[in-house]
Structures are given as structure tokens and as C-alpha cells.
Amino acid sequence: MNFFSLMFEEFKAIVSDKAIAITLFGGVLFYSVLYPLPYLNEVPTKQQIVVVDGDNSSLSRLVIRHAQASPKLDVVAHVANLTQAQAAVNAGEAHGYLVIPEGFRHNLLRQQGVTLAYGGDANYFLVYSAILEGLVSVGIEAGKYIQFTGLLAMGETAKQVQLELDPIHLNSVPAFNPSLGYTSYVVPGVLLLVLHQTLLIGTGILGAGQWQRQGYWRQVSLGQLLCARVATFSVIYSIFTAFYIGFCHYWYQVGVQGDLGQVCLFLLPFILSTSLAGVAFSSLFVRRDLPTQVALLISMPILFASGFVWPVELIPVPLQAVSQLIPGVVTIKGMLELNQMGASWPSVVHLWWQLWGLALVYLVLAYFGVRYRLNVMPINNEQ
């Protein structure tokens, strides 16, 4: 059997196996829609808050108008006291509150300090941070307004007052994901994880279903089988990867900074090492329903260990070390740097070599694993 007809046999085995086809073709398409779906609105805006206005003065109303004007906030109700405000949060009618104390205007005019109190539902960090950012800027603006009018009244010029209130300008700007969008944050990493996991599952089911049966895989040498299998999956996954990294990034408007040639070059050892890891993985199983289960159980740890959800610096060192053996973790890190953050090739090249190293390790494991499986006599329950 020549190499191309062997690859063709492999391809036939993959597409005619419904369990693999569901995962590979169905899964890859389905997830390209499903995973980004919750995040399409990108940023939380207009979070509902309630206000406790203990002062009822022109100034307290000004603060409330400022809050209403903030793109992050939406004042939905006025309530009488803090207990009612918290009840509104508990009931889900609002996610935060602002308390303006009694005597707010009076104390400010007398040049005495006052305290504004904010609260937010910290069960949802994204909502909480939006509310806090909104309210803090409202508080700062209100304070500046008071100081501004006060200093003007003392006879300073408007320009002088501006300088005194803002002696240094802080220019804090987000880099790489300028809109602070959630899609750009989650999608690049998660799509790579989907490729990684479905590839493991596909090779896993294919192998697990074959070891105990007779077929073309026993009629060729071990080296040929490994090469053909890795080549077949690599061809299929090159198309999937191009669809994810090319089309999906474009469709979901994820910022892309990488150079096409470098990105392709970087993804080459990703596909090879993951295919080889998949073949090695498949030699662990003889039941076709098991590879998916194992891959599913390890997918959440892999996602969180890859360092874009939770910073790598805070992950315990032993877990970091183990995660370095997973091609997906290395690739997510490398691709985020190369394609999202515009790192130069020399600064990611160590990850590229690491992927080649992993490919070598998994090649050895795949070789011995598959040899072990094929040396055991088949159970001829079919054919």
C-alpha cells in the first residue's frame, strides 16, 4: 500500500466514523459559534444601580445626574435606606448602589469632608468592576466640581485651577485590546483549546476503535501508520486552524498583529505535536467512548493553566511545570504573544522549539504505545 492510499484509508476511517465526525467536523463548526456567543456584546454597559439620596439637595441631584450620564451606569430607582438598597441587589433588580449622606451639600459648602458610599454585587466581578469604575469617576468629578467652584470663588483663574486640581495628567491606555472587549480576550485562547481538544479526541477514538480489530492498520509498518495518521490529521487540522485563526478572528473582529508567515510557521509544530500527542493518547484506550471523556475532564484545567484567564505568575509552580508538557498550553501562550500582542519572532522562538521538543517526546511515546497495542493479538469479533 503506498503512502497516499494509506492516507486515503485513514481519511475514510475518520469521516465514516460518526463519533469522530461529530467531534471533528460538527464540534469545530459548532464551537466556532457557541463559544464566542455569550460575549458578542463585548463590554458590560448600563449596569443598574439604586440610589439612596439622604440629602435631597441640588448637589446630590447633580451627582445622581452624573451617575445617570455615565455609560457604565443606569440609575433605576431611588430607595429610602441602605437596607432597601441591599434588598434590591438581592432581588436582582439592581447590581449596585450609591449612598449620598445627609448634609452632603451643607458640609461641602462649609469645606468639611464628606463620604460617598458605593456598593456592588461582587458575585459578578465584571459587573462589580463596571459599577465601581462608573461610581468612582462620578465621585471624582463631583469632588472636582466643588473644588473648582471653590477655588474660582477665591479669585483664581480657571486655568490655574485646572492645574491645581490635576497637577499631573495620568494617561492610562489599554494596549492590544483597545476596546477592552471580552471577545478579543476569550476567543483566541479558547479556539486554540478547541482545536487541541478535538484533535486529541479524534485521534483517540480512531485508535481506540482499531487496536482490537483487524484492518489496514495492521497491514502496514508502524512507521508508515504513524506518518500517515499524523499527516492525515495534520491536513484536516490545517484547514480547521486556518478557519479558526483566519476566518473566525476576522468574523469576531479579534485584533490580529501577527505576520501571516510567522503565524503559519508557529502553528506547524502545534498541529504536529498535538497530532502525535493524540496518537500517543489513543494507545491508552481500547474503548471508543473513553478518549472523549478524558479529554473533556482535562479541558478546564488546561484552559485555566494556559495563563490568559488567570495570570501565570499566580499558578503554583508544580502545576506550571506539568502544563509545559501540554502542546495546547504552550501554543496558547505563544499565539497570544505572536498574533495578538505583536511580539517579534525571536521572543517566541523558545516556545516554538518547545513545541518541536514536545513533538519529539510524543513521537517516541506514540511509537511505543502503538507498537504495544498492535503486538497484542486482535479479537476478531468483527469481520
Binding site: 468612582v136 471523556q293 478546564m300
Partner: protein, 385 residues
């Protein structure tokens, strides 16, 4: 019934993988996922500082930054190096203290301090942005205070002038913004749902693998199903019990009320997971395919819980999809109990929100009847042949 339950337990005992799924694997998963987030609070995140001024003021600001537990300032000689470090994710933000910062401040020009934070790592970036600004503002306040004192303002009045409006913010239900309390419980709920799905799918596929479908139907289709439900529901609840004991007992995460209500919610969630798996099993009737399709359905459940990204900000389609995931119904009860100390009426509403899944029951009934008939026909054919 006792015999049927014994039959299930025997099958469970004979399947090492299934046994692992109901015993140590979820606990191992729990430990790994908790360990990942065990730092709890982000601390000592590397920030590149490029000090081009090298004045007393710039050094004071860097010290101010170093005093913030979230930030770990690292000095860089020039902006190019700092930028390269940021692109490699070695640092998560770059702060540039410009040349003549101190001088411009003293002669009354308004200098600019540039901060660039990595928004690709959204969580870290946003946190650093606010923390750096806070630290610098505090440092600059000291400067302004000195200036006021020098111009003859009394110290008391200077303090008030600086902090005309003080703010006090409180993070309800998770007072110190602990990530373990925020993320780990929902992640573990997603994990339990996945394990529950796998366990029940395996329990059903087991009948196919050992060719015991005729035995199943002879023993009574629904009786065998009930036996499976009666065996696996308590086992999964036990897992959740251990996880809750670990999180709220041993780790002592904040908890506002008793956990009693959660039992009802857990039973309901598990029954609905069983219903979904059973429907898929009845349609596909193949172990590997059932697992593949269930995986496709349940794997992304965490994103749809609405904990990381709020539900009310999701597009309509995502909110509908969320309704199909039992874990998103459950997480509402979970947060209600953990944080809001919710009443029974809220619980009843949440349990009632599963009503749509009742529509699966007639579908399952029809499919199972069909499978039984096919099975009977096959047997007839075998006998005649």
C-alpha cells in the same frame, strides 16, 4: 427494586472507569482547579517602570507603586525594552515617568505620565490600570499637601481640601474580591455537571456494550431506569456535598445561609441532566456517539453560567442556550443561597424554571418504546432464523 439496584451496583463495581468517575476523579479535578486559583488575590504582578526623570519625585512615585501589593515594579532602561517585555507578557503594564517630570510640576506645567496596560489579559490589565492610578494619585496627593502647607493652609484644612469627597466602596458578598470565592464554586459546578453527564451516559451505554438491552427490557424499561437514577443521584450528591464541605467548611469561603435549599436544587439539576442524556442516548444508541454529542452540549456550560460575563449582557440567542444548560439554573440557586440568603419562594421559582425539560419525557417514552419493539423484532428474527 432492591434487586435492580443491586444489578446497577454490580455493573458499577465491574467498570473501573465508572468507579473512578464516581469516586476519586472529580475530587482530583476539584483539587487541581482549586490549586490553580489558590492564590485567591492577584498580587505582585510585574509592571515595567521606565524612569526617565530620576528625580526625587519619580522615585517617590515608584516607591508608592512598590507599596501596592498588587504591583511589582521592575525597572527598565528604555521604552523599547519595556515594550518587548510587555509583548512577551513578562510584564502586564508599562509606566513611563517622563524626562523633566519634577521640573514641569514645579514650574506649573502639566506633565503627563503614560501608562499602557495589557488588555489582552483583560482581568490583569483592568486591575493593574486601576491600582496603578490609585497608587500614583495617593503619591501626588502628598505632593499637593506639601504645597498647601507651604502656602499657609493649616494641616487640618489641607487634609480636608485634599479629600473633600471621600469614597467608601464595599464589595457585597465577597468582601475582599477573592477569586477563589468568585470563580472556583461555579467552575466546580460545571465540573460536577460534566461528571454527572459522563456517569449517566456510561451507565446507559453499559447496557449496549454488554449486550444487555433484552435483559433491560425484560426487567422493565422504566424500573431499570429508576434503579440507575436511584444509584447515581445520591452518589453525585455526595460528590457535591464533599465539594461544598471543602469550600465552605474547610476553606471557609463566605456563606450567608444554610445549605439546605441546595439539596432540592441538586436533585433537580441531576434529574434534568439524566433526562437530557437519556434523550440523546435514545436517539443515537451508540456509546461513543452519545458521549461525543453530550460533550459538545455540556463542555461550554461554564461560559453560559453568567458568572464571568453577566447574563443580562449576553445576546438573546446565548440567553436561550443558557436555558438549556441545567448548570445555569443551578448556579442561580447556588448564588441565591450563598450570597442573598434567599427565601423558599425564590427557590420554588428557580426549580419551576426547569419546566421546559418536561417536554423531553414524552419524546423519551416514544423513543424507548421504539427501541424495545426493534429489539423484540430482532429476537423474533433470530428465533425464526
Amino acid at each position: 427494586m432492591v434487586n435492580l439496584i443491586k444489578r446497577e451496583l454490580r455493573r458499577l463495581w465491574q467498570s473501573p472507569w465508572q468507579l473512578a468517575l464516581v469516586s476519586y476523579l472529580p475530587l482530583l479535578g476539584t483539587l487541581v482547579l482549586w490549586w490553580l486559583f489558590s492564590a485567591g488575590l492577584p498580587t505582585a504582578l510585574p509592571v515595567a517602570v521606565v524612569d526617565q526623570d530620576q528625580s526625587q519625585l519619580s522615585r517617590m512615585l515608584v516607591r508608592q507603586l512598590a507599596a501596592n501589593s498588587v504591583v511589582k515594579p521592575i525597572s527598565y532602561q528604555d521604552i523599547g525594552q519595556a515594550q518587548a517585555a510587555m509583548e512577551k507578557a513578562d510584564v502586564y503594564a508599562v509606566m513611563v515617568l517622563p524626562f523633566q517630570l519634577n521640573r514641569k510640576l514645579l514650574i506649573g506645567h502639566q506633565p503627563t505620565i503614560d501608562i499602557r496596560y495589557n488588555a489582552q489579559f483583560l482581568l490583569v490589565g483592568k486591575l493593574l490600570s486601576s491600582q496603578i492610578q490609585m497608587s500614583l494619585a495617593d503619591g501626588l496627593k502628598q505632593k499637593a499637601r506639601l504645597k498647601m502647607l507651604a502656602s499657609g493652609v493649616s494641616p487640618e484644612q489641607a487634609n480636608i481640601n485634599l479629600n473633600m469627597i471621600k469614597t467608601q466602596s464595599s464589595a457585597l458578598y465577597n468582601a475582599n474580591n477573592n477569586y477563589v470565592a468568585f470563580l472556583v464554586p461555579p467552575i466546580l459546578i460545571a465540573l460536577v455537571q460534566i461528571v454527572a453527564m459522563l456517569v449517566f451516559a456510561n451507565a446507559l451505554s453499559d447496557e449496549l456494550r454488554h449486550n444487555t438491552l433484552p435483559e433491560w427490557f425484560a426487567l422493565g424499561t422504566y424500573k431499570v431506569l429508576w434503579a440507575k437514577v436511584l444509584v447515581y443521584t445520591p452518589l453525585l450528591m455526595l460528590q457535591m456535598g464533599v465539594i461544598y464541605a471543602w469550600l465552605y467548611g474547610y476553606l471557609g469561603l463566605p456563606l450567608s445561609s444554610g445549605l439546605g435549599q441546595l439539596f432540592a436544587a441538586q436533585v433537580m439539576m441531576l434529574l434534568v441532566v439524566w433526562l437530557i442524556v437519556l434523550t440523546i442516548f435514545a436517539v443515537l444508541q451508540d456509546g461513543a456517539r452519545v458521549i461525543s454529542l453530550c460533550t459538545a452540549l455540556f463542555a461550554p456550560s461554564f461560559a453560559f453560567m453568567g458568572v464571568t460575563f453577566p447574563t443580562h449582557e449576553m445576546p438573546m440567542l446565548a440567553q436561550w442556550w443558557r436555558q438549556i444548560m441545567p448548570s445555569s439554573h443551578y448556579v442561580d440557586t447556588h448564588i441565591g443561597v450563598i450570597a442573598y440568603d434567599q427565601g423558599i419562594d425564590a427557590l420554588l421559582l428557580q426549580l419551576f424554571s426547569y419546566w421546559g425539560f418536561l417536554l423531553l419525557i414524552p419524546v423519551i417514552a416514544v423513543l424507548l418504546t421504539k427501541i424495545r419493539r426493534d429489539q423484540a423484532k430482532e429476537q423474533m428474527a433470530e428465533v425464526q432464523g
